[in-house]
Amino acid sequence: MERGKTTGEMSAAELADVLTQVRAGDSDAWGELYGQYAPAIFRFCRRALPTREDAEDATTEIFMKVRQKLGTYDASRPFTAWLYKVASNHCWDLLRRRRIRQDLETGDLETLPLEHPDPDQLAQLQTEHDSKHVRAGLAKMPDRARMALVLRYYSDMSYDEIADTLGVRRAFVGVLLLRARHQLRDILAEGSGGMRSATAGGKA
């Protein structure tokens, strides 16, 4: 599983050494660990949360949490996987606590979009919108849909991990992702002059 996106890769041995020192209370080692992973976690938060300020706050809080919970980390598993798990849980908790009424979203999970995309218009949508448009569109999406896309297509999480983080059954992760793709297409199509048919026109 690719979690990369850190600045200046640290070898497994170096990482293990740094983690040991951090657990022993070495603040220099903690600074090194933070410097290595904070940019990546900030970028993850920037995509998972709606505003830059939220992402900044969340990054700080995640690393506070990491420092507290480092004792529970199982060294036999990849550190980045654990770190992203902590980060994704934190971001999702934050979003849920802000909008507890959206718990009702779960009820819609089984509803599949009925219209299939027209491949040509889908291709046109991708041509017309660059990464900035996609990121702006993500910020407008419902929290759960945005998180699903980020966990899958940015953090490369498996369906099991996504289900665990978002608190849904594994069987619904695919539905969640498909619905999220449709929502993003609609948002982008609206932004470019109501190209609503990006999600329609195919087989029923």
């Binding site: 660990l33 505003t51 690393f63 606590r97 009424r101 900035k132």
Partner: protein, 536 residues
């Protein structure tokens, strides 16, 4: 096989189908151009999504490059605590100390070392210093709030340039747009008799005397203000002593130590004063609202009277109803009260047999707060009711604004910044409200600000209670668990709050923490909720 649907295509691409189903799809794709086209479009969309998400078009904030220290000291709460100290000093020296001195003159001479150190020594420089401090505090508070709200945007040079440019423009154009006389810097300002000011008059001085006429409002911030001329508008004043000897065409709203009213006020009077005296020649055309230490009403009042005072002596004419809360009420022989009087106080009113009353006085005698008994079951029933009221208030908050509620409870984690900001706003907000009343927007906004302040103080307990419950039972999601945690937290706060002496200090700390958390949550919710707009 028939055409497969988009869901199947996605699961196929993401290798989530079982082997048999995968083989079936693969075989169909080989034969069906339409499904092959859909599969290709979805695959490209996946690639496009990954590339878009991985595109690194934003820099990492500089303050995230360094590891945060658990015990770090952010500038925010340090400056907040500093300003709180300034505000506390101002409030003490401006309002509490003069009252304390007055009490000392009346025989209550228990001085303390704090008073001696701060107010009899080098720090006490009298009212001038107090005025400067108040002005400084007001400007500094506004400045800090503005900088705090804009602090993230200030990193951008363009925003900084716009803000600085706007300030320069405001400074450059302010005199041209000013429709008022402003007198500042002259310690003893006098508007001579015979002179007329045709606009509003703003006076900042040690001693201000207005012998001439003012056609607009008079707004004064002086140690002593004497109005002998005719003011056609309102009088808004913050002073130690205010004498209104001339007629006032509008309202009188004052915040002072002593107010003497000796002429006619056509509209309403609202006074927060140490002493209030309405002499026999005075007449108020509207209502009188007064909060004061002692008050003597010897003139005529056409409207209603609302009074919260220490000793209140009435020896004049009251044409309408009165609602009085006073330590002691004396109705003298010249008193003529035509409306109803409702009186609440600790002592029975003293009524002269010669006084003329339209109807009997409705009297309610209060019990002293020291009468509360820890051994009485009523006390505990009362506490349970108070706990229930807090819980219902919290429930309403949780239902009406769940996001804000959890944001505020979560903000309690930042204990020191929250306490710092809470202390600042606890002190600065009422001062700001008074300033708003006088100079900026109007009394409505000022009173609304004060009401918000009161509600926020009450809500502070609920927020801290919820946070405390979370700390004890662990954070969770959903309304039910949150209510349980809030109930437990509020119960603990109330139990500690009724402990003698400790309870008062503890409750103060809770108010500061909760108020700060609310402020931090408001700030979080005021921030823009969308990411940067897409490029055109």
């Amino acid at each position: 096989m028939n055409h497969f649907d988009e869901m199947t295509a996605l699961l196929y691409l993401e290798q989530q189908l079982d082997a048999a189903h995968t083989q079936e799809v693969r075989a169909h794709v080989g034969e069906c151009r339409e499904c092959r086209s859909l599969l290709r479009a979805l695959e490209l969309e996946g690639v496009w999504l990954r590339q878009s998400l991985e595109a690194d078009d934003e820099s990492v904030p500089a303050h995230l490059v360094q590891a945060p220290e658990a015990d770090g000291t952010p500038w925010g709460w340090l400056s907040a605590l500093g300003l709180s100290a300034g505000g506390a000093y101002t409030m003490w020296s401006g309002f509490i100390e003069p009252w304390r001195a007055q009490a000392a003159q009346s025989g209550f001479t228990q001085g303390n070392i704090l008073t001696m150190l701060f107010f009899s020594g080098a720090f006490w420089k009298g009212w001038d210093a107090m005025r400067s401090l108040t002005e400084f505090l007001a400007v500094a508070t506004l400045g800090v709030v503005v900088i705090w709200l804009l602090r993230r945007h200030l990193r951008r040079v363009t925003t900084l340039a716009v803000v600085m440019g706007a300030m320069l423009m405001a400074l450059a154009f302010a005199p041209a747009g000013q429709a008022a006389e402003v007198k500042h810097g002259d310690p003893n300002y006098t508007l001579p008799a015979g002179e007329t000011i045709h606009t509003d008059l703003f006076v900042f001085g040690d001693s201000s005397t207005i012998d001439g006429d003012v056609e607009g409002d008079v707004v004064s911030w002086s140690r002593s203000l004497t109005i002998n001329g005719h003011v056609k508008g309102d009088v808004l004043a913050f002073s130690q002593t205010i004498r209104v000897n001339g007629p006032v065409g509008g309202n009188v709203r004052v915040f002072c130590q002593s107010l003497f009213l000796e002429n006619e006020v056509s509209r309403n009077v609202m006074a927060w004063a140490g002493d209030l005296t309405l002499n026999e020649k005075s007449k108020i055309g509207g209502s009188l609202t007064v909060g004061s230490g002692d008050a003597e009403l010897n003139g005529e009042l056409t409207g209603d009277l609302i009074a919260g005072t220490g000793d209140l002596a009435i020896n004049g004419i009251l044409d309408r109803n009165s609602l009085i809360h006073a330590g002691k009420l004396v109705i003298g022989p010249k008193a003529e009260i035509k409306g109803q009087v409702k009186y609440e106080g600790r002592k029975q009113p003293e009524v002269s047999p010669s006084a003329k009353l339209g109807s009997p006085i409705a009297v309610t005698i209060e019990k002293r707060s020291s009468d509360r008994s820890y051994s009485s079951p009523h006390f505990y029933v009362h506490q349970i009711l108070l706990w229930g009221a807090s819980f219902v208030f919290g429930l309403a908050m949780l239902i009406l604004m769940p996001g804000f509620f959890f944001d505020a409870a979560g903000a309690c984690k930042r204990t020191m910044p929250a306490i710092g900001f809470g202390a600042l706003f606890l002190i600065a907000l009422p001062i700001l409200a008074v300033i708003i009343c006088a100079t900026i927007v109007g009394i409505g906004v000022g009173i609304a600000t004060l009401m918000f302040w009161v509600v926020a103080i009450y809500a502070a307990h609920v927020i801290v209670g919820t946070w405390l419950g979370d700390r004890l039972l662990g954070e969770t999601i959903g309304v039910g668990p949150a209510l349980g945690r809030m109930a437990l937290g509020l119960l603990i706060l109330r139990v500690i709050g009724i402990v003698p002496y400790l309870g008062v200090w503890f409750s103060s700390l809770v108010v500061c923490l909760g108020l700060g958390a609310i402020v931090l949550a408001i700030y979080r919710n005021m921030r823009p909720h969308l990411a940067t707009a897409p490029a055109a």
